[in-house]
């Protein structure tokens, strides 16, 4: 019997709008938990600088979404939305 | 069915009222709308929305039977039958029966067209089944 791999835990990244082009147009992608948002973005070749807003819906607490900084460490089951800076004032 | 509102979500934009006047009168004139947006500024800093709950109190008092029930179960004003007696206005518990002689020669009210819901960006308005009134 194969044992399930419990070491690597997963979360979901949902790039919004134009950022989807960085993940071949898909609406979401599974990512490894335990890294910062910044590291995760860089690993996907999304320049952290073009992301204006990080909103996390944490699976664990089930409370409403919260804005987080790019230094936030992604937890298992989190759904992390990232929005591009489109325009500004 | 009836219109519902959540005042806490209202931004005071009045898009609903333009859509409403377009539906009722084919005019761009939100003063001829059948929904009330009441601003309370500078304090407490909120908008108070009043909508028709389709209670039928207006129809019950109309002496010319100008306020009718359509085949969707919605109360509306038949403009041709209204004689501007204004009996309906004080009857409305929400204050959304309108008579303004300078604007129109008929009373008007919500006919549940739903255009207000379509233009409300904050989802402060929606249409759903009438809930039984709590005792």
């Amino acid at each position: 019997m194969k044992k399930k791999n419990r070491i690597t835990t997963k979360a979901t990244l949902r790039p919004s709008g134009a950022l989807k082009s960085y993940i071949s147009g898909k609406t979401e992608i599974t990512v490894e938990a335990g890294h910062t948002v910044r590291e995760t973005l860089s690993a996907l070749n999304i320049p952290p600088e073009v992301v204006a807003l990080v909103v996390v819906n944490p699976r664990t607490t089930g409370v409403n979404e919260e804005q987080q900084s790019k230094d936030y460490v992604i937890q298992e089951g989190d759904v992390v939305r990232v929005l591009a800076v489109i325009g500004g004032g | 069915m009836r219109l519902y509102m959540d005042s806490a979500k209202c931004s005071g934009c009045n898009a609903c009222r333009v859509a409403c006047s377009l539906n009722l009168f084919c005019e761009n004139n939100p003063k001829k709308a059948a929904i009330v947006i009441g601003p309370h500024f500078p304090a407490p800093g909120v908008y108070e929305v009043k909508v028709c709950t389709q209670c039928g109190d207006c129809a019950a008092v109309c002496p010319t039977e100008a306020i009718k029930l359509n085949d969707k179960g919605v109360y509306y004003v038949d403009f041709a039958e209204c004689n501007l007696c204004e009996a309906c206005v004080p009857e409305c518990p929400e204050g959304v029966m309108f008579v303004r002689n300078e604007l129109a020669n008929t009373a008007w009210k919500c006919d549940l067209c739903g255009d207000c819901v379509s233009v409300c960006g904050t989802s402060a308005l929606w249409i759903a089944e009438k809930e039984p009134v709590a005792a």
């Binding site: 807003l53 804005q67 929005l83 500004g88 | 934009c13 009045n14 377009l22 084919c26 500024f41 604007l103």
Partner: protein
């Protein structure tokens, strides 16, 4: 006229004469409305070298074809005048519900000229137009005066009102409306104040005609659907422009301590999330807007209600002053709103004063005893009051940083962060050449709203000085202000990313005239060149030197933050202007050539 109120209202405040003319179809054809009308009437009707504070200057208030209709963001009103702050073209855009009411009263523009012998307010109720005595209101704050009119005349009246700032002649006084919206920049409120007009109140019951009712309703609904379907709608509505505060801090665009850096160690206290949690109570929107950016707030700390602060005020009254408390910024915001002075210019001017103080160029003797160290919240509040009343040290700052720094000297001119005499708004541009160029070439002075190009800098490379960047700035300058011309808001396109092609069928159905975005951008270029010619007409020796940025951005690299050690090269400043002038069809001194004016149909008007 389909899509229009139909008449221009002329008010001569010196004589009291009030007249109307039908809105000229050729002006509609070439300038469309809103800011386009403002530019046209300014150039045509205000005599050359008019004193901005004199009777010959005019305040031109204009709605546009979208205003008051079922179009997302149909709530913007343009205020154009000759600026008492810069001596050139001023145009300020005010949201809320005022512009719609102008149309319901059957008007497109209201033009105020002359000077009233005593304080008045302009009363418009459909066809009834009167100048009424405002002696009892003179000296009062904008909030209580708007409340007074709402109670006395009725909630349906829309009010545009100045505060003590405008009455006292602060060079950057603003005009207030709807308990939190402003026509902010360039001293439009100053002009209203010198003309002794306390307020304009308007009420109208007419319906706005459109050419194709069915087509307009369909196109309008399509626009609302696009907005409601936009992915970022919920986030944008939650934060408004404060959505960029944390990002600006991260990329070094957040003005810190008089633009000496682009990141602020206290930034977290100002971020959108912090503000939402601490003070925001209502998402407040302009006419027709599905994505309300207004964050109406209640600060328990200061026991106030205020609309805002929005990003610009957070930048200039927060990080720019070394203040890290969003509630203090909210209080500063309210003081400026109530007193009627522009938060951007005020914050910028105070930041300059603080740097002077920290450097010993100014001492307590000069500042009426105020300790103007960065971060001093109480001194900031006191100074705002002094500026609005032009009292003591406040009188110097009330002239704007360009004039103030010229008077003080001692090197302080080098850190007066302004272009053409207008204080720079809240993007630090040490190393963001597209945005720097945007500030240098903006038609009213250093304001960001024509061409917000920072993301482009990041995409292409911050310090790159390439023709594509210049082309981008020019395109944004021709395109974005067209929303001001149409009497609507650009933020649905800017922030929600809706397809701009959805606007064209709406505009055609409303006005009966088909215009593509190419057509509209040509009108944008026409207005851009006209107002450039206006600057040249009113300012002897106008040219390249007037487009130069503050030396801070090519001499003083920040020592902290995301742009630490980064600075623009001086020769690149000129290289940017070289490319810009060439692409614009201007001479090497930045003056539109005859060929360019001809191509835009301006040859006759500017002759």
């Amino acid at each position: 006229m389909n899509g229009y109120g139909g008449q221009i209202l002329h008010v001569n405040l010196t004589t009291g004469k009030i007249t109307k003319e039908p809105t000229p179809p050729d002006v509609v054809r070439d300038f469309i409305g809103g800011r386009g009308f403002g530019a046209y009437f300014l150039f045509k009707e205000v005599p050359t070298n008019a004193d901005p504070l004199g009777p010959a200057n005019k305040l031109i208030i204009s709605s546009g074809p979208f205003s008051g209709l079922m179009i997302p963001g149909a709530g913007k009103c343009d205020f154009t005048t000759k600026s008492p702050l810069t001596g050139g073209y001023a145009s300020a855009s005010m949201g809320g519900h005022f512009t719609a009411e102008i149309k319901y009263a059957g008007l497109d523009s209201i033009i105020l000229e002359g000077i009233s012998p005593r304080p008045v307010y302009l009363f418009i109720d459909d066809d009834k137009v009167e100048l009424r005595d405002a002696a009892d209101l003179w000296g009062k704050g904008t909030i209580v005066v708007e409340k007074h009119f709402k109670e006395k005349l009725g909630e349906e009246f829309q009010v545009a009102v100045i505060g003590p700032g405008g009455e006292n002649g602060v060079s950057y006084a603003c005009i207030n409306h709807d308990f939190g919206r402003q026509a902010g920049r360039g001293g439009v409120g100053t002009v209203m104040g010198v003309k002794k007009v306390k307020a304009v109140v308007v009420h109208g019951t007419k319906s706005i005609p459109v050419a194709d009712m069915e087509g307009y309703r369909k196109a309008g609904m399509a626009l609302y659907k696009a907005c409601k379907d936009a992915e970022g709608l919920k986030d944008w509505t939650r934060y408004g422009t404060t959505i960029v505060t944390s990002w600006c801090d991260e990329v070094g665009a957040l003005p810190t301590r008089n633009f000496s850096a682009g990141s602020f160690e206290g930034g977290k206290g100002l971020y959108g999330q912090t503000m939402r949690e601490k003070i925001v109570i209502t998402d407040k929107g302009c006419f027709g807007c599905p994505s309300p950016c207004g964050k109406y707030s209640r600060s328990k700390k200061y026991n106030i209600h205020v609309e805002g602060p929005e990003y610009e005020t957070i930048g200039l009254m927060g990080s720019n002053l070394g203040i890290d408390d969003i509630e203090a910024v909210a209080q500063a915001n309210l003081l400026c709103d109530d007193l009627g002075i522009d938060t951007i210019s005020t914050g910028n001017a105070i930041g300059w004063a603080m740097e002077c103080y920290e450097k010993g160029i100014l001492t307590k003797k000069d500042t009426d005893g105020l300790e103007l160290k960065f971060g001093n919240v109480e001194a900031t509040f006191k100074l705002i009051e002094k500026i609005a009343r032009r009292e003591g040290f406040g009188a110097l700052l009330a002239e704007g940083v360009k004039r103030a720094s010229k008077k003080i000297g001692k090197g302080s001119e080098k850190f007066a962060i302004q272009v053409k005499g207008m204080e720079q708004s809240a993007y630090a541009t040490h190393n963001a050449t597209a945005m720097l160029l945007a500030y240098m070439t903006c038609d009213v002075g250093a304001h960001h709203n024509r061409s917000w190009a920072i993301t482009y800098d990041l995409q292409v490379g911050r310090d790159k000085v390439v023709p594509e960047k210049v082309a981008r700035v020019i395109w944004l300058q021709n395109f974005r202000p067209m929303f001001d011309v149409l009497g609507g808001c650009r933020l649905q396109w800017v922030e929600l990313g809706i397809d701009r092609d959805l606007y064209c069928p709406a505009l055609e159905a409303i006005t009966g005239v088909q215009r593509s975005w190419e057509d509209l951008e040509k009108v944008g270029a026409r207005i851009w060149n006209l107002t450039r010619m206006y600057w040249g007409r009113e300012n002897e020796g106008f040219g390249r030197q007037w487009d130069m940025p503050s030396p801070r951005f090519y001499e003083e690299a920040p020592t902290t933050g995301a742009t630490k050690g980064q600075i623009t090269k001086f020769e690149d400043v000129h290289k940017l202007l070289d490319m810009y002038y060439e692409q614009r069809g201007w001479t090497s001194e930045g003056i539109p050539t005859a060929a360019t004016l001809e191509q835009l149909g301006l040859a006759e008007l500017v002759a």
